[in-house]
């Protein structure tokens, strides 16, 4: 199949349409506005609906309504806009609705900057909205992976009746790479008999809701949701790693940062250093078990992120105190260079902390 050169934001749209998503509700915000623009051009061509909502809040609530009525539906935004969506995302998780939410992260907090960052890791993996819920969080590191994860993301959402987040950064949204659209692995997707499509006089009303005024009922509901998350943790972890059985230093990084880390690792290998990589692709469920494969002589795990240290917490949880954990980060939309990473590894190898 021929590859197409596409900008990340537009590739998301093309992938969604390939996955049979016909509905997009969103709002402009840098650096992801090309996605709503793409959807506004392309969805009418396939009989879908694009609507620019009055705000990110309205958009996520439109997603709630459409998802509750059985549609494959998505929204997208960037960091400050994703903050606005937190209430709606919590409602979607509580009502167990499937949908895809794309976050092309930018500098924060607050209005921040428009350059790439990874500053919403906590927000994505630790809730963001109120209550005990999780998003399945997918972190691509290149446009092909972005496309694959968007397509698979819709299936994951439908299989578990849960919102799925694709966590990119401004670089992934803006850069152009060749992509091809592949069919994802086949999943057994449950029938959608719970949706609000009108009773037709033939069945009891379906109700989409996250309110349970009786505490016992809400606890029961929460227990069911937690069971679902346990199954997701067992089945949906995705990770790429290499050299960790042998490395003196293991770098933990995801997304754009991991690509830069691969360049740094190649440079270090030329100089005779043994450096491995653990690249989580699902940030939730997190690949904690991968860290068990690190050889006991490893001098430390270097977590590199475009933030002040967020995935760092999960790395510490993963290593269970067995290795020193180091951190290197850039904030504000600054992107680390391979040489900065090389220097950090050399510091660790030289015994510096």
């Amino acid at each position: 199949m021929a590859k197409v050169l596409m900008k990340g934001n537009e590739a998301v749209g093309a992938a969604a349409i390939k996955a049979n998503c016909k509905y997009f509700f969103g709002y402009p915000i840098t650096p992801q506005s090309e996605l709503p623009e793409y959807m506004s051009r392309e969805l009418p061509k396939v009989g879908g609906v694009f609507l620019q909502a009055e705000s990110e809040i309205a958009a996520i609530n439109m997603v709630y309504g459409a998802a509750g009525s059985g549609a494959r539906v998505m929204t997208s935004s960037s960091s400050p806009g994703i903050s606005l969506k937190q209430e709606g995302i919590s409602y979607i998780a509580g009502a167990e609705l499937p949908c895809l939410i794309v976050n092309m992260m930018r500098g924060g907090p607050g209005l921040g900057s428009i350059q790439p960052s990874q500053t919403d890791y906590f927000q994505a993996t630790r809730g963001g909205g109120n209550g005990d819920y999780r998003l399945v969080v997918l972190a691509p590191s290149n446009i092909q992976e972005l496309v694959d994860l968007v397509i698979e993301g819709f299936d994951i959402a439908d299989q578990y009746r849960n919102p799925v987040m694709v966590l990119g950064d401004g670089m992934i949204g803006q850069m152009m790479e060749p992509v091809e659209f592949k069919t994802p692995k086949k999943r057994e997707l449950p029938k959608k008999d719970w949706t609000t499509t009108g009773t037709g006089g033939k069945r009891k009303p379906n109700i989409i809701n996250s309110l349970y005024l009786a505490a016992e009922a809400l606890e029961k509901h929460n227990n069911e949701i937690q069971k679902k998350y346990a199954i997701i943790k067992q089945n949906e972890v995705k990770v790429e790693s290499y050299n960790i059985e042998d490395a003196d230093v293991v770098i933990a990084a995801y997304g754009t940062t991991s690509r830069i880390a691969k360049t740094a690792i190649a440079k270090l290998e030329k100089e005779g250093f043994k450096v491995g990589l653990i690249r989580p692709i699902t940030l939730w469920p997190y690949p904690y078990d991968e860290f068990k494969k690190i050889n006991s002589k490893c001098k430390g795990i270097l977590t590199i992120e475009m933030n002040a240290g967020q995935m760092l917490d999960d790395v510490k949880i993963a290593v269970e105190g067995k290795f020193p954990v180091y951190f290197y980060g850039r904030t504000g939309g600054m992107v680390p260079t391979p040489n900065e990473m090389v220097d950090q590894v050399k510091k660790i190898m030289g015994g510096e902390k």
């Binding site: 016909k22 509905y23 509700f25 609906v49 609507l51 909502a53 009055e54 705000s55 809040i57 309205a58 958009a59 609530n61 439109m62 997603v63 709630y64 309504g65 459409a66 998802a67 509750g68 009525s69 059985g70 549609a71 539906v73 209430e87 709606g88 409602y91 009502a95 609000t196 499509t197 009108g198 009773t199 037709g200 006089g201 033939k202 009303p205 379906n206 109700i207 989409i208 809701n209 996250s210 309110l211």
Partner: protein, 249 residues
């Protein structure tokens, strides 16, 4: 003997939790009767608000979605846009629609969303125990306006019907009251016309229903109806502000 008044199929058998004399019950019945009589009940999806009527999803005999506070018009937009042949309505109170939800209702009207909104204006926040609403009258007491609403501090109450009637997409806008049998019968006519606006695919429709809250106003149900007549109707005039026929002219 012919039965001239009996319970509509549009309501479930669940007894409502509303206070004795609360007009929510009256309006629920009118909405349910209109859905049944217009033949759209089996195609209907309603969106419940946050407020006293948060449990409306238990009372209407059709598919329902519970929305976050103020977001019902956005949720309804999502429901209607993906299945335009279904009948979609929202049922909202004055905190939900006129406070947190002002952006959502204005933009649903602005886009001419083919949905119907029932707006319950009882000049107070009922569910949370009687706080001031954007629709609370000047001088009216509320738990967060213990000395009475002070115009200098928080402005005059908001007239939603008049405001939305300035928007082209809002093709049916009417304000009614349910404080007497005559007003209730008129209210039903307005609700039916509002629903017909959606069925005819003309655009957005809203009926603002002046309602009572005996419990938080501190009146008996009958006295509350009198208070509505004497105090709310002068400030919130009843009548039609927009119909599709006028818009077409």
């Amino acid at each position: 003997m012919a039965i001239v008044f009996s319970k509509t199929r549009g309501l479930t058998d669940v007894p409502t939790h509303y206070c004795p004399g609360c007009t929510h019950g009256i309006v629920h019945r009118l909405v349910a009767e209109c859905l049944e009589e217009l033949g759209v009940l089996d195609n209907a999806i309603g969106v419940a608000p946050v407020g006293c009527s948060v449990l409306a999803y238990n009372y209407f005999n059709c598919d329902m979605q519970e929305a976050a506070h103020g977001r019902a018009p956005a949720v309804a937009t999502g429901i209607k846009r993906i299945q335009p042949d279904k009948f979609v309505f929202t049922y909202q109170g004055d905190g939900d629609l006129a406070s947190i939800g002002t952006a959502e209702i204005v933009h649903a009207a602005h886009r001419g969303e083919k949905i119907s909104t029932i707006f319950i204006n009882n000049a107070i926040y009922g569910m949370t125990g009687g706080q001031m609403a954007p629709t609370t009258l000047v001088g009216q007491k509320a738990t967060t306006a213990p000395y009475g609403r002070d115009e200098a501090l928080c402005g005059r109450p908001i007239r939603i019907a008049e405001m939305l009637a300035t928007i082209h997409g809002a093709q049916f806008v009417e304000r009614v009251a349910v404080n007497s049998p005559a007003h209730i019968r008129n209210a039903k006519k307005a609700i039916k016309k509002c629903f017909q606006t959606q069925i005819d695919r003309k655009g957005f429709g809203i009926v603002e229903v002046l309602s009572t809250c005996p419990t938080n106003w501190g009146y008996s149900p009958a006295d509350a109806m009198k208070w509505l007549e004497d105090n709310m109707i002068p400030y919130y005039p009843l009548g039609n502000f927009r119909t599709p026929e006028e818009v077409e002219k």
